[in-house]
């Protein structure tokens, strides 16, 4: 333990972000993002792009700011009174913090799946139908049925629940609940899906199913996933971003990050030398 402490005290410079944080034609683009909780700054000057139809993994030690950053992308931080976000955050070149942007509509376009599955205390059908109904995406029952079935199919859950769509969503297993939450997110036709440790509460089999699903979803969506599991980040993502104490240290192709990262701090984290 003494060794780990000594290591933390060593000065490792973070000057800018190493690697490829920016891309051409990004789906989402963030520049000079700072986030404050009251007086405490949690995110420092982050510049990062999300490429269309990619899975980008956000990794880093606890408290490094990756979930805080993720929540900026669909303005979930608005729900926290003391939280203040500055900088430029664009979705298809639209400023998502512009006064004219409705956060509710934004969160349909940029959906979120949380660590703990949180299905509504409603039927499986109503869980998925809730969003489309709210946003007026179906003009009749047949269209709503179509959306529900398609979303459950895309989330890989339909075959398991097709005979009991009126059963309570909360009665499903953990893995099934999480897939129901994913179906709920997909049902409103988002462009981006944010996932905050989506599999950390699930057993290995359910985790593998979710990871397989993420790979399939990539065809139609852009996905940003926060994960504590390095192996999961390596398996599901094309790019990986490493955060450290609120700063974005390095971004690169996942293969390169996990075999030969450029920054010492990234190397130290993924090899378990501290953090």
């Amino acid at each position: 333990m003494n060794q780990a402490v000594e290591f933390e005290e060593m000065e490792h410079e973070i000057v800018g972000t190493v690697g490829t944080p920016l891309v051409d034609n990004p789906k989402m683009s963030t520049r000079n993002v700072d986030v404050f909780y009251g007086d405490k700054q949690a995110i420092f000057d982050v510049n990062l792009d999300l490429s269309a139809n990619e899975v980008i993994a956000l990794i880093g030690p606890s408290g490094c700011g990756k979930s805080t950053y993720l929540r900026c992308l669909n303005r979930m931080n608005d729900t926290i009174d003391i939280c203040r976000v500055t900088g430029q955050l664009l979705l298809d070149e639209e400023d998502i913090y512009d006064k004219s942007m409705d956060p509710v509509l934004l969160r349909a376009r940029v959906g979120m799946v949380f660590q703990k599955p949180n299905p509504f205390p409603k039927s499986i059908y109503d869980n998925v139908a809730y969003g489309p109904k709210l946003h007026g995406l179906a003009s009749n029952r047949a269209e709503l049925d179509e959306i529900v079935v398609t979303s459950l199919q895309k989330a890989g859950l339909f075959n398991e629940v097709k005979d009991r769509l009126d059963a309570l969503g909360t009665g499903l297993s953990g893995g099934q609940q999480q897939r129901l939450c994913i179906a709920r997110t997909i049902a409103v036709s988002p462009e981006v899906i944010l996932m905050d440790e989506p599999a950390s509460a699930l057993d290995p089999i359910a985790t593998a199913v979710i990871e397989e699903l993420i790979d399939e979803l990539r065809e139609n969506f852009t996905i940003a996933i926060v994960t504590h599991s390095m192996q999961q980040a390596a398996r599901v993502s094309q790019r990986t971003a490493y955060f450290h104490l609120g700063k974005l240290v390095e971004v690169g192709e996942t293969n390169q990050i996990f075999t030969n990262p450029s920054h010492q701090l990234t190397e130290n984290y993924i090899t378990g030398r501290f953090g």
Binding site: M1, Q3, A4, F7, V18, M230, Q231, A234, F258, T259, N260, P261, S262, H263, Q264, E267, I270, T271, G272, R273, F274
Partner: protein, 242 residues
Amino acid sequence: MEKELYLSQHISQRFNAELEEIRNRVMKMGGLVEKQINRGLKALLTSDSDVGEMVTSSDYEINALEVDIDEECMQILARRQPAASDLRLIMTIIKTITDLERIGDEAEKLGRYSVLLADENTTPGHFVELGHLGEHVKRMLHDALDAFARLDAEAALRTIGDDELVNEEFDAISRQLITRMMEDPREIRNALRISWCARALERMGDHTKNICEYVVFLVHGKDIRHTSLEKTQETMGIDLGD
């Protein structure tokens, strides 16, 4: 940016110990292989068939170490799922022990042929050139193992350059032996055996070059196999001189 390569200092002390242990075993295997080469050369140069037989009967120790270290590497991969430099270290070790085991096999050939040549009462003086080539190869292997132990990619690159000289010496010996065979057909059998010994030493040089390439991969994460030394120096911005 330049990174330091720390192979210890994991939060997990047990992981540190596992990696340290496996590196030590690789060095032990390297030491055994060096000893076998020494014995093989001594057996040839002094026509000592007893030493030659010792070489052939000792090869099993190197083979056993290869199997053990391979198994340990697999356990580490399963338990620790290493990444970055740790992953490159395990990959380097898995490949290095394969080449070390092959060098051991080539040394065993030296022992085997030395017994046959001693039985024929061949004059030891015929093996002077072999002795010179042998010293060269021994030095190459020693430098390669040293580069691995010290994680010195530049030393590894310099050692790769030495393989050219080994190949040139081997070519020279081959030409001399062909001349000898043409001059006196009664020499053909022994000349062939000497030629196979020279070939064994040349192959040792090739395997040692492989080990050096793995060291560069371990230190810099760059795969330089099948790339010329000049191109490698240019890509990596290293100047080894001539």
